[in-house]
Symmetry: C2
Subunit: 335 residues, 2 copies
Amino acid sequence: MKANLSDVAKEAGVSAITVSRALRHPDKVSKKTLDKIMSVVDRLGYIPDPAARALAVGKTNVIGVVVPSVTNNVFSDVMRGIFETSEGSKWQIQLGNSRYSPLEEERLVRTFLSQKPAGLILSGLEQSEATSKLLMNADCRIVQIMECGPAPYDMMIGFSHIEASRVATRHLLEKGYKKPGYIAARLDPRSQRRLQGFEEVTTAAKLYDPARIVTTPRPSTVTLGCELTADLLSKAPDTDAILCNNDDLALGALFECQRRGLNTPNEIGICGFNDLEMMAVANPAISSVRTHRLQIGQQAMSMMDAALAGPEPDPSVIDVGFEMSARESTNRSAK
Amino acid sequence: MKANLSDVAKEAGVSAITVSRALRHPDKVSKKTLDKIMSVVDRLGYIPDPAARALAVGKTNVIGVVVPSVTNNVFSDVMRGIFETSEGSKWQIQLGNSRYSPLEEERLVRTFLSQKPAGLILSGLEQSEATSKLLMNADCRIVQIMECGPAPYDMMIGFSHIEASRVATRHLLEKGYKKPGYIAARLDPRSQRRLQGFEEVTTAAKLYDPARIVTTPRPSTVTLGCELTADLLSKAPDTDAILCNNDDLALGALFECQRRGLNTPNEIGICGFNDLEMMAVANPAISSVRTHRLQIGQQAMSMMDAALAGPEPDPSVIDVGFEMSARESTNRSAK
DNA sequence: TTGACAAATGTTAGCGCTGTCATTTTGTAT
DNA sequence: ATACAAAATGACAGCGCTAACATTTGTCAA
């Protein structure tokens, strides 16, 4: 019932390989036969079988994407960028959710590699030993996203998390906060580097106090932001600012402070991370570090496309940076 | 360099087909040879080539999932459910983002079908004419998610959006609100049915006023919730409650009302839709209609798995319902 | 007109796997 | 020991496509 290459070939009065060429390398076929073939393809509604092609060529059009979470706002933005940019191209995006587990990531990479993908997009700098080995020997292009660091497998796009949190911490200190705390959930490597940036800067300013750092392995939610804030404030009631590992927590922190009648920013400053759109419209508007999530997704896909299409993309490592979005929630002098 | 079936066969001293059987139908192979083959498989690190298998069998292990948005919280929860439940199974999830466009959905369905997938998971009741035709003739199982309605292609899991908004609207009326408004963004078919439920109930109660309905095709955000609320309040300043098409808008509505010094719930009630976790911790806590998004994803995948594994899943159409989460933001008498 | 070369098209074989059917081995009852 | 069925294994072909090489056709200059 479904037409295949030789059906089209027969109908067009040419050989199968000519049809194949017409479809894959139209410039290798004369205008006349090309037209004829195309009209037959249309008429028969022919659609090539990707499995047969994959078998013959030893490669697929699959680009595997491994993200640690599909619900996290950060990665949904990245994913959107990837999907948008791949649209219309021949690349077939295949998504895997590693749930922040290096082992699950390894399993996914294995599955993807068995499909002989054209490319792989992975999150972060560190993979399990085994995954690393797989990737080194992989016969496909690789883009690492979210972070910038040394020794990429291939290509890379992201920013420095430690530098971003240094900037946010300095912002709090500049605003005059003297007893800054830190709350974090789900300490993946990137979160840990952000915490590290906070510790560095506060230590240098002689304002470091481990009692003001509250973390949990639980996944981040707004509700958890409330709980961590409550925790922090019970352990160290004199805390005058909270740097939050992400915006969910920051919103939760704000809600919790409101509930306790603590004025933000005067009694307590709050700063988030990522700068989700809602930060700007909260009351008070919440300061945050803007990260370029959509752009990371888009450019990761563009780099991949470029690398697969032809000449090497230049550069192959991109630091997209970040910006401090200072708002009311840390503007102590205001009001 | 990479081992294939016959490498394993040679090494194990059997024929290729026996290795194939050992892997696919272990019960058709004697214990002794099975053990030998498995040890060789391990030693050689043999991984079957899915493309070759697909070509031989005329079917893949792919399950295509088409969602209208990868950033929308609703669908990220659904996706999480699907990914979680598929983990460990042989099914390979492939995700497509239709961006709420029936044409893009059609393109995706075409691409998926060309891969001879085992199954397809689609969002919503209505597809383009062409998509419908494709799906009717498709040689794979289909699960429609998010909504329940008549005439499923195959299987279905969701809830009644119109009934859900009727319940929410009645909740507002029961709480004594007399001039309820409605704000909505991105009017997909499901949003439209929710609006319809609101219109029905307010009309029946003789409280319907088109001036209190503000909609936009723009994608939903918290910021947009602020804007739509501002719009609504400028058009109909005496509005005493807002039913929001989703929780992003509801949070925006709350922020905007706070900014205007309007007390929620006394001067203005606010109700959202979906009941994202953050609704419960806002100040005041925001009423919403809880929808079972994770469950929809999980069960959609279970149904699919069951249908592909063996006997027909029963039932093949599931209404997971919803619950009204009444909170402070609509509790007029409180405080 | 002819030869030389490029462009266009065709032939053949094979990618790695599994369905079908044929054959061999094993187990069981007489 | 024999007969017979059931279990286990194997030979072969083919899924639909494309790389590599082979052949034909077309073009142009001498």
